[in-house]
Symmetry: C2
């Protein structure tokens, strides 16, 4: 049928796909609940059970929820913290294991694999019109300490399953379809979020910064990359840059990480814009001293300065008057960190975001003013106030929004247009390609913690909308 | 002369001692500034240079400031953080090395050594009237992370030098003189301050608590003790208890850890009372979540709860209206501790002290009320509010105060009566023995940080006052 597909009018093709997906919508398996396995128990890639899905039988046209659920569980076991939490840090042993696991799945999906020097992984399904720019999808699988199984993972394993769905429907893309496994969307190890996609988007400042970037154990970025098998021969990270127009479209499938879709009982979120994130590092210094011997008037406590600034961040965010402004102090460290020692140093890392860049930047300015005021009142020093990143928001591409909406409608899935308050690799891919994002509901909007959860049914819906959207976008 | 001393009337003996110390006061060496050495460089005990002091020459009657200074520098090199900071945690390799170093010095001072099951070390100089209760002195050498060289150390190495001074003066004690090296005065590893002296003072609750006490790496107290060579055969810590009256007096030499003596240019502080310390552990729990996705009204941020409580501690301490009330949040940890994750857990350790126990306990009650109020306002849970210890203040013994004052006068050293705002092993020794403390000035009152400093001249003055005080108290 592949050859006939080649000449099939788009209308008929989409018709076929809708037929396929309508059936699959009915036949989504509900017994996808996996049995917990040890690392020894599993092969690292689908078992014969799921491989049998590549036969042409009717059931094979459905999303293989059992394999997808199993893959999510198996990938979650590559973790440096105990289940149900997941901790997977850039270039760690567990990260490297997760990478080889995903590459195996890409191979089994018949994709040709390439990796760049920082470990962005590309799995390509060659289109029959290879002169045309390709269509890309993907996400990340790195996980902050003690987080969950679904953030990013759904957009990587879900994309591979979307390709399988398209193959099982005997679809053949005109534009090549490419899955991207992005390196380090989370800032955990080097304090840089979306490291891989920022580089793909051609960030020269990041290329220079990474030459002198070290982690909390003073391991340099390049040392770490080499330990994972990357950046072996060359230090030139500009080789990672993508030319603008290299892709005709980029679409990312992701859990909402917010409560809206679940609360409103809607299956699909069609993202129209991504909020603008900024992150700030602040260090205060005082004289410290003995907790018993130094009287209160003689103190300049760097820890209390940090406490005041943390509360000031909340205050300035609330003052913005918009529900869309958020700010968080996720890291607050005291030195020396002993019960009977007045903190002589404190370190805060602040995250603030908004869909309105000006409003967010006003919050940053107010936070800086508070930090300065605190140094005066408490006679501490502001030894650092560094805006690590201050990214602009990104808008989704109109034609991709339409493709995602059409796909949802054709699959009889409820959808709504919404904003992404969390940032994603899509924020940076938008700099070099038209961009769109598909959200699915997640339990109570929980994310970045072990309770993070998305049902396999919701994930399957997301996979189908992604597959149909890719199919639409892949037609030249 | 030893035998004649035996029958010499006290008045004449003290006369001799004053003669000795007056000369030594003039001949204190000022070139005690040591050359930095590597661990390989030094023997771990005094060189022939200082050993020659045990000859009967006139100079030998002085405090051997060169050896004492060298010993302070050498002991400071047993550290898990880089110089000039010192980090020496209970039962760590560096703690064990420091212990053997001090035991060598005790042996060279002709003391007979015993150790109890938790590693309190006793170096005894047998008095000629061994039926009488002995006189004890001593302090600790464990050091909180990134602290200094003098806290505790002056009271251990200084005590050994005081014994050497007495020996060089051909003095012989009637009551036995004993130097105690106390185990873990600092609470760093197990959250228990003055662990050794609390047990010596017969703390049954501590004996039970230690059965289930683990450090931050889940290493049990007994596991740790055994790794350092203690508590091998038995778990019965009551063997450590001292009978009340076992010592007729306990005197501790220590740096002031406050600025008063230095500011007023006074050589010796005679401590009349030790402030009452209390320590509290607090845990808050919230829902955490993604720093971008969870809107402000939906948050219950455990980190902001901790920040509010830290500031409340300061507020309640200041409300007490007394300069003698102090409170500190030295530890504040956030979980998971990622910039883009709302803290789901926070942990605080609070230290509060006062010379007035009731006033201090009122502060603790107010801190608890604030913690409860914060849980209501922020919808977080107060998963722990534990008063780890809440010790009463201790008063020095009148006769020991008189002995310390007389010694200062006879040595022509300025002194003042003062309060110890820091607690010490003396606080607990006071439960089983008449107690006194001798303070010496330290630079700007700095302590618990690398800048902690006491001049060798001030230390020598403290050693002489200690030696003469011990001599006075050792006479039956």
């Amino acid at each position: 049928m592949a050859l006939t597909t080649l000449y099939m009018p788009k209308s008929k093709l989409i018709g076929l796909l809708i037929f396929v997906f309508t059936i699959s919508a009915i036949s989504v398996s509900n017994d996808g609940d996996p049995v917990a396995k040890t690392m020894e128990d599993f092969s690292g890639y689908p078992t014969s059970e799921s491989e049998s899905c590549s036969s042409g039988s009717l059931s094979s046209l459905s999303v293989d929820t059992q394999s997808l659920q199993r893959q999510i569980e198996e990938l979650s076991s590559f973790s440096d913290s105990p289940a149900p939490s997941v901790t997977r840090i850039l270039y760690s042993k567990k990260d490297v294991l997760a990478r080889s696991y995903v590459k195996k799945l890409m191979q089994l999906a018949g994709l040709s694999i390439r990796e760049d020097v920082v470990g962005n992984i590309f799995g390509k399904w060659e289109g029959f019109n290879s002169e045309l720019a390709g269509v890309a999808t993907g996400s990340h699988v790195d996980a902050i300490p003690y987080s969950g199984k679904y953030d990013g993972v759904v957009g990587v394993l879900g994309a591979i399953e979307a390709i399988n769905v398209l193959r099982r429907s005997d679809f053949r893309p005109e534009r090549s379809l490419e899955i991207i496994f992005f390196t380090s969307e989370e800032p955990t190890r080097f304090g840089i979020s979306c490291l891989g996609s920022r580089l793909l988007a051609g960030s020269e400042p990041l290329v220079s910064a990474l030459k002198n970037t070290v982690d909390s154990h003073d391991i340099s970025f390049f040392e770490a990359a080499r330990s994972a098998g990357y950046a072996q021969d060359q230090d030139d990270l500009t080789s990672v840059f993508l030319k603008k127009g290299f892709y005709s479209a980029f679409v990312e499938l992701h859990i909402e990480q917010g409560p809206i879709l679940e609360q409103e009982g809607i299956s699909i979120g069609v993202v129209t814009a991504i909020a603008a994130p900024a992150s700030i590092k602040v260090d205060f210094e005082g004289n410290g001293g003995h907790a018993g011997a130094v009287l209160m008037p003689q103190r300049n406590d760097a820890g209390l300065a940090a406490a005041e600034l943390a509360l000031a961040v909340e205050q300035h965010v609330l003052e913005s008057g918009s529900i869309d402004t958020v700010g968080t102090v996720g890291i607050l460290d005291l030195h020396p960190g002993a019960i009977n020692s007045i903190p002589s140093k404190s370190h805060l890392e602040i995250d603030t975001r908004d869909i309105d860049e000006t409003r967010r930047n006003n919050v940053i300015e107010k936070i800086h003013q508070s930090a300065v005021k605190i140094t005066k009142n408490r006679k501490v020093q502001l030894s650092e106030f560094k805006i690590v990143n201050q990214d602009p928001p990104a808008a989704s591409d109109e034609s991709i929004i339409k493709a995602m909406e059409d796909a949802s409608k054709e699959l009889n899935l409820t959808h709504k247009l919404m904003i992404s308050r969390a940032y994603h690799d899509s924020l940076f891919m938008a700099r070099v390609s038209p961009m769109g994002m598909i959200f699915i509901p997640c339990y109570k909007g929980y994310s970045h913690k072990p309770e993070e959860f998305a049902s396999i049914e919701d994930i399957a819906n997301g996979v189908k909308v992604l597959a149909l959207t890719l199919a639409k976008l892949s037609l030249g």
